[in-house]
């Protein structure tokens, strides 16, 4: 019988090497070997996804590879998730995410969503072409800590400012952090519309989310 570490390594390998079959097979092995499902996810699949993220930062991987790693990761999660012993007392940080109104390009948004999930955030994905008001109602409904806004098109960038304005109008701006990203977005644009962070890619978004939340905690 394989050691726990060998199985965890195979979980990571399946994700990192875009091998969906291996990720699924190793997930079943983990269950058969009584490895805790959460451990298998966090020390197996998530490790693989983080390694993929590292390869992306090194420009070894590009978007096609990340998409396939993410498929392998979700395939493993499908096997493992039903077996998680949830500790309901522990509350996660909540993120509302979506592509702003008028834009349907959602690859970048999906990658950010995945990396935030991997980093143990609770995600509320509103999808694409999302009106500003829908972001606001979801923030209110779930008491979100962060809103992530994405767009690939220069023509729809200003919809991000609309969301921030509406948050202000509703008196929610102080309680929620706003992170933005996408092709035409820059730090200068983030400054101008008053967003809390601009992230260049999905890996950066996770770092920014953690940094902003820890700064906010210090501030409070």
């Amino acid at each position: 019988m394989d050691s726990q570490q060998e199985i965890l390594d195979r979980l990571a390998e399946g994700v990192r090497e875009m091998d969906e079959e291996l990720a699924v097979q190793a997930s079943y092995e983990a269950l058969e070997n009584k490895i805790d499902a959460l451990t298998a996810i966090n020390q197996g699949l998530v490790v693989g996804m983080n390694e993929a993220g590292f390869l992306y930062e090194q420009e070894e991987y590009f978007v096609p590879e990340l998409l396939l790693c993410s498929d392998a990761m979700y395939a493993g999660l499908d096997v493992l998730s039903p077996h998680i012993q949830r500790n309901t007392a522990e509350s996660k940080q909540k993120v509302v995410i979506g592509v702003v109104e008028g834009d349907t390009h959602d690859i970048g948004k999906n990658l950010v969503k995945l990396m935030l999930e991997v980093a143990d955030f609770e995600i509320y994905d509103l999808g694409r072409d999302v009106p500003a008001v829908d972001f606001i109602s979801k923030v209110k409904e779930v008491g979100a800590d962060i809103v992530c806004l994405s767009t690939l098109m220069s023509t729809t960038m200003d919809r991000m400012a609309d969301v921030i304005e509406l948050l202000k109008k509703e008196g929610l701006r102080e309680q929620v952090l706003v992170m933005i990203g996408g092709g035409p977005i820059s730090q200068a644009f983030a400054n101008r519309i008053g967003a809390d962070a601009y992230s260049e890619n999905a890996i950066g978004a996770v770092k920014d989310a953690k940094r902003l939340l820890s700064e906010k905690r210090v501030a409070i």
Binding site: F62, P64, L67, L68, T104, I107, M153, T155, P184, A188
Partner: protein, 358 residues
């Protein structure tokens, strides 16, 4: 404020001199006007997109307003995919987008066929509009038609996310699809050339932001070369090629496949481009469409245009002042006029770099 020198040549005369290496009056200027033109005639994007008459009227008006050094209209990013069966959504007054890619299942591949540009999708509308534009202003300006590149078209037929995964999981089918869209595009290119006009290529999805250089070489370059070869064969010179985002890693490939003008995104440093490939292709770019052209004022447009000129005016194969990407719909026309004026003032020949100092 500087007096704005009047143009001494028509755009057509200027570009002929430019291409022949003869003297001309000022740096050429070709903002990527696109759908913004419909704002000049008060038409919505969706009505414009479905009427050859409105497309022609808008683009003629844009030329008359700005006196750009190129004019025309084309199927752009999605037109070829649409003509092959992909469904687009046309928001009342926003940019169209792909809502239903036609080939979500490879089993349906055999149902796809190369387009007939005189019948399929909205391609006949573009050809009709091009004829009207040519008749109206073709003696003054080169009229062209921008067609989406093979990678962009294939991604719109499969759905971008699916197609990116295909590069690794269904390599053979990806190539078959690329061959098929290339055949479609060649038919459209031929139809444009029959009108005596020259196509250009826009290939945003093959951006270095999405795929690696290796993937560009395998899945985009060979098919782009087929486009470029056909355009060269029919028109006598290679096309302009626009790729969005960071294209620096693939400049040598863009030149190698036969592009004679590289249209560069505003994330690019023109000086770096000049140093790397300026001796092999003319460069065009790259004033920021949003920060400067949409939200800036005349002074900001001048300042950034001067910066572009400073970096690139002496690029060996020439330089064309342009926007770094498509002009946003609601860009104030004054700012596009300011861009043209920047070419007239600061790009007037003989170039005197002192003119850019303040």
């Amino acid at each position: 404020m500087n007096a704005i020198p009047k143009d001494e040549m028509t755009p057509k005369e200027r570009m002929a001199a430019f291409a022949a290496g003869k003297a001309y009056d000022r740096i050429p200027c070709m903002p990527l006007v696109g759908e913004h033109a419909c704002r000049l005639i008060g038409a919505t994007v969706s009505s414009y997109s479905h009427s050859a008459r409105l497309m022609a009227e808008a683009q003629i008006k844009a030329f008359q307003t700005y006196r750009t050094d190129s004019a025309g209209i084309g199927p752009g990013l999605f037109g070829i995919a649409e003509a092959m069966g992909t469904k687009l959504t046309f928001p009342q007054d926003g940019m169209p987008y792909v809502s239903e890619p036609v080939l979500t299942d490879w089993n349906d591949f055999e149902r796809l066929a190369p387009v007939d540009p005189h019948k399929d999708g909205r391609l006949p509308l573009y050809l009709e509009a091009l004829q009207i534009i040519k008749d109206a202003i073709g003696d003054e300006v080169g009229v062209g038609s921008s067609v989406g590149g093979p990678f962009t078209a294939a991604a719109s037929i499969r759905g971008t996310e699916r197609f990116l995964k295909d590069l690794r999981k269904n390599t053979e089918m990806a190539h078959r699809l690329l061959k098929l869209v290339t055949e479609s595009a060649l038919r459209y290119i031929d139809a444009v050339c029959e009108l005596g006009l020259k196509p250009s290529i826009s290939e945003p999805t093959a951006s270095g932001t999405l795929i690696s250089t290796k993937q560009f070489r395998e899945f985009a370059q060979p098919y782009l070369k087929i486009y470029a070869d056909r355009i060269k064969e029919r028109c006598g010179s290679g096309p302009m090629l626009h790729i969005c985002g960071n294209s620096s890693r693939i400049w040598p490939e863009m030149v190698e496949l036969g592009a004679t003008i590289l249209s560069l995104d505003n994330v690019i440093d023109l000086e770096e481009a000049k140093n790397m490939v300026g001796d092999k292709a003319c460069l065009a770019g790259n004033v920021k469409p949003i920060d400067t052209l949409m939200k800036g004022n005349r002074e900001q447009v001048y300042a950034e245009s001067k910066e572009c000129l400073r970096k690139t005016y002496d690029s060996p194969k020439g330089y064309i002042l342009s926007s770094g990407c498509g002009i946003a719909l609601d860009t104030p026309p004054e700012n596009i006029i300011a861009l043209m004026d920047a070419a007239r003032i600061y790009g007037k020949y003989p170039i005197e770099p002192d003119r850019w100092d303040n």
